[in-house]
């Protein structure tokens, strides 16, 4: 066959020169060392992984090694890495990248990640994989550095864009690639024009609710794999949202996508123990709750029932949270003084926070690190003050914190404080697996957010069991949502990946609004129950939220509300 053989003759000239100059000649030992070094660096086989031998300080999980082998040997280095959250997609990408670099198949590498993760990626590639990655700061970096980490927003803007599109990249890695599902965006168009040999797209949510999204993502990676737009539509599309020949499509997609689920990895996941803790309101708190609930009947609230719902939820959290909202309402509409001021008076009458008292009791009895999640800033501040009064130190945590501040707060929590009080799950890349207890002080109305909360500690690296405490204020909407929906779909025992897909499938993206709607527009308790039941069975029907691996612990759930 026609072979392309290239002899590198650089050595010849220098050798002839040394012949003429009669040296210098090296020693026999150094000559042998040079040959041995090259033998150690040479690649004995086309197949198999060399990288683990270069990274003895890292322990790879079996599924991660399998992913790397599959991507390199079966997918020819073009793949969507779509493991469920927490299975280590970053590690897999690093491993594949390292393998290609060791084999000399990749030198010029571009890694596009969300801006907040640039430094983290750069750090991990350097410290864990000994890959000399550089965070893009100056425009000369594109050309002069071999491995560059940047945000897509920077890379696609001039003057960077022209330089980046001019580079011949060996590998491109894109984190959070589901953001590229729309082909009419600038980001999509930019990535499409990059010159690349190998390409890794990382996403935890590859299955979207629109048929063309998967088409767009795959076409970015391997144009034509799913045909062009026209024959894709003909072969697979039924209408806007539904598919035909689904099995065939799945097979095709699986040729370019690896997706491990937690339950399939065979890993021993930490157990989840879920406990619902009922909170009984004091008399004054109950008065406050009732008078807010009565607002619904007032004509001026007929069009803003939603704010009544918010207030109800806030009372379940803290009078402070409730007060802030009332104050804002009053500022917006001074005419509402005669309805709002009496409620503010009722707030003043409240002498204790029953939930906070229970929190204190629980935190003291746990006597270990605890994360408390609340929906409200005012509650967060109050709890911090309240715990401080009882000698318990805590650190606050908010989604809006800068990356460095998040890291610092995580550090403080790990080393100096017993409690972390968070208003949000903390976003991507925050790992708190050294902690085993979560208190859901109040519940968000979006099941995804609950899973994100739990996912911060229920992940690889968690050594012990995970304990989840759900607070439910008796005879309030809080208790109702817990009983009517969350306990019916086994939310706390299940995992996000599937839920994510189910919600997407039914276009229940805005589940929060949907639930509010049920709560507000149901004529009776019975109707509400029926509607919630429908929602629950819809979710359970859509593949259901399996609870494999946790069945045996379902009994651990408190049944005081059943």
């Amino acid at each position: 066959m026609n072979l392309n053989i290239n002899f590198n003759r650089e050595w010849h000239d220098e050798f002839i020169k040394r012949m003429d100059d009669d040296g210098p000649w090296t020693k026999w030992e150094l000559y042998n060392l040079a040959l041995e070094a090259e033998k150690n660096l040479s690649i004995p086989d086309f197949l198999g992984l060399q990288a683990p031998g270069h990274l003895p300080q890292l322990t790879f999980l079996p599924h991660q090694l399998e992913v790397a082998k599959t991507v390199i040997e079966k997918m020819n280095g073009k793949a969507i890495l779509a493991d469920e959250v927490g299975l280590g997609k970053t590690i897999e990408a690093g491993l594949i990248l390292k393998e290609y670099m060791i084999r000399g198949l990749a030198k010029k590498v571009l890694i596009l990640v969300p801006a907040s993760l640039v430094l983290q990626w750069t750090g991990e590639l350097n410290s864990k994989f000994f890959i000399p990655a550089v965070a893009q700061k100056k425009s000369y970096v594109w050309e002069q550095c071999e491995v560059v980490v940047s945000s897509i927003d920077t890379a696609k803007r001039q003057p960077h864009r022209d330089i980046v599109l001019n580079q011949d990249y060996d590998i491109i890695v894109i984190d959070e690639a589901h953001k590229l599902k729309n082909k009419n965006t600038k980001n999509y168009e930019f990535v499409q024009h990059l010159k690349k040999k190998f390409c890794l797209l990382l996403t935890a949510t590859p299955v979207q609710n629109r048929v063309e999204e998967i088409f767009n993502l795959v076409s970015l990676l391997k144009p034509g794999h799913l045909g062009n737009q026209e024959n894709f539509d003909k072969d697979f599309r039924n209408d806007k949202h539904s598919l035909k020949n689904e099995e065939k499509l799945k097979q095709l997609v699986n040729k370019v996508m690896v997706r491990n689920r937690r339950e399939e990895t065979g890993l021993k996941w930490p157990k989840r123990f879920v406990k619902t803790i009922p909170i009984t309101l004091s008399e004054t708190e109950r008065n406050l709750y009732s008078s807010i609930s009565d607002l619904k009947e007032l004509p001026q609230f007929s069009r803003s029932k939603f704010s009544v719902l918010t207030l109800q939820r806030e009372v379940c959290s803290s009078r402070e949270a409730c007060f802030m909202t009332l104050k804002n309402m009053l500022q917006k509409d001074p005419n509402s003084e005669h309805t709002i001021v009496p409620i503010m008076k009722k707030i003043e009458e409240v002498t204790q926070n029953s939930k906070a008292m229970k929190t204190l009791e629980l935190v003291q009895s746990i006597n270990d690190k605890v994360i408390i999640f609340t929906e409200y800033r005012a509650t967060q501040l109050y709890l911090q003050w309240y715990l401080q009064q009882h000698g318990i130190s805590s650190v606050p945590f908010r989604g809006g914190f800068k990356r460095s501040k998040k890291d610092y707060m995580t550090h403080l929590f790990k080393n100096h404080a017993q409690v972390l009080i968070a208003t949000e799950a903390g976003g991507e890349g925050i790992n708190l697996q050294f902690c085993q207890h979560i208190i859901n002080y109040d519940l968000p109305w979006n099941p995804m957010r609950i899973e994100q909360r739990i996912g911060r500690i229920h992940r690889i690296g968690q050594k012990g069991d995970v304990h989840i405490y759900n607070f439910a204020t008796e005879n309030t909407i809080e208790e109702r949502i817990l009983n009517l929906l969350y306990n019916k779909i086994n939310l706390f025992e299940s995992v996000i990946g599937e839920l994510d897909e189910i919600l997407a499938k039914f276009e229940l993206k805005n589940i929060e609004t949907y639930i509010s709607d049920i709560m507000l527009n149901s004529e009776s308790e019975g109707e509400m129950k029926v509607k919630m039941d429908n929602l629950a069975s819809l979710i359970n029907l859509g593949g259901g939220i399996k609870k494999k691996g946790w069945e045996e612990h379902a009994t651990a759930r408190d049944s005081s509300f059943s």
């Binding site: 290239n6 050595w11 000649w25 060392l33 040959l35 031998g53 084999r103 011949d168 062009n228």
Partner: protein, 264 residues
């Protein structure tokens, strides 16, 4: 490469480069670098530039390398394993330090007769087979620069011989008939012939993968009369990804003067 192999390699490396081993332990070593090695490994060109300008006394650094569980009593030290950048830097430096050689077979002569040493040219080579995957093969060839006879696995055979850097007493060297540059060409021709006789199903397979992806790409744009620029970019990328290539590099080599029968 196991940790004890790395340890052994490092010891030999520093000794061959005339560094003083200040502390020797199965699990670590402390090395006083020479000026040459400091310049090669420690990445401080400004220091050396400054020193040369001012004429100061050079003060090369000491390096503590840890290869086992135990760390030196005064703490510190770089942990060296197969993936560590320092080891790869040292590997790379051997290529600079150990590329060109000339050796003589060490013959002790009692009869008082003069012995002729025959010139051999030896090269150690790395052949890389590359497509979207890669494999290397190390080989070694020697050519007798008078007869033109070629010998495979030449380095292994050399390793069994006593060799010296200076021509031994009562020995003289024969002048080559074949110029070294011609010798190199003959070795190349032999290597090429051997490569062509190899099994190249790997290259066939790569071309099949390449063709498949190209067909997909063509299908993706089949309805477009005027193919967009991106089509050509992608097509070119497929070529660089899959096109089978064989690269032959010389690792090191040189002249060896050997007695007449030793390679027969």
């Amino acid at each position: 490469m196991q940790q004890h192999e790395i340890h052994h390699f490092l010891e030999r490396y520093f000794e061959a480069n005339e560094c003083t081993v200040e502390a020797r332990h199965p699990s670590y070593m402390k090395i006083q670098l020479t000026v040459e090695l400091d310049k090669l490994l420690m990445n401080r060109p400004f220091y050396w530039h400054y020193l040369e300008k001012t004429g100061g006394v050079p003060n090369p650094l000491a390096l503590t390398l840890v290869t086992g569980q135990q760390t030196p009593p005064d703490g510190g030290g770089e942990f060296i394993h197969f993936g560590s950048p320092r080891l790869h830097q040292i590997f790379a430096s051997t290529k600079k330090l150990g590329s060109f050689i000339r050796m003589y077979e060490s013959i002790t002569q009692h009869s008082g007769q003069n012995i002729a040493l025959h010139p051999w040219l030896c090269v150690n080579m790395k052949t890389s087979y590359q497509c979207d995957r890669k494999k290397d093969r190390i080989s070694s060839y020697g050519i007798h620069l008078i007869t033109g006879r070629m010998v495979e696995s030449f380095h292994d055979k050399l390793s069994n011989l006593p060799l010296t850097r200076k021509i031994p007493d009562f020995c003289y060297t024969l002048s080559p008939f074949i110029r070294p540059i011609s010798g190199l060409k003959r070795i190349e021709a032999l290597v090429e012939q051997e490569i062509r006789q190899d099994d190249h199903s790997w290259a066939e397979d790569a071309k099949t993968r390449w063709r498949e992806d190209e067909e997909l790409l063509d299908r993706f744009y089949e309805d477009e009369e005027e193919k967009p620029e991106y089509y050509h970019v992608e097509k070119e990328a497929l070529r660089t990804q899959y096109e089978p290539k064989i690269n032959v590099d010389i690792i090191n080599g040189g002249l060896f003067y050997l007695s007449e029968t030793v390679m027969s």
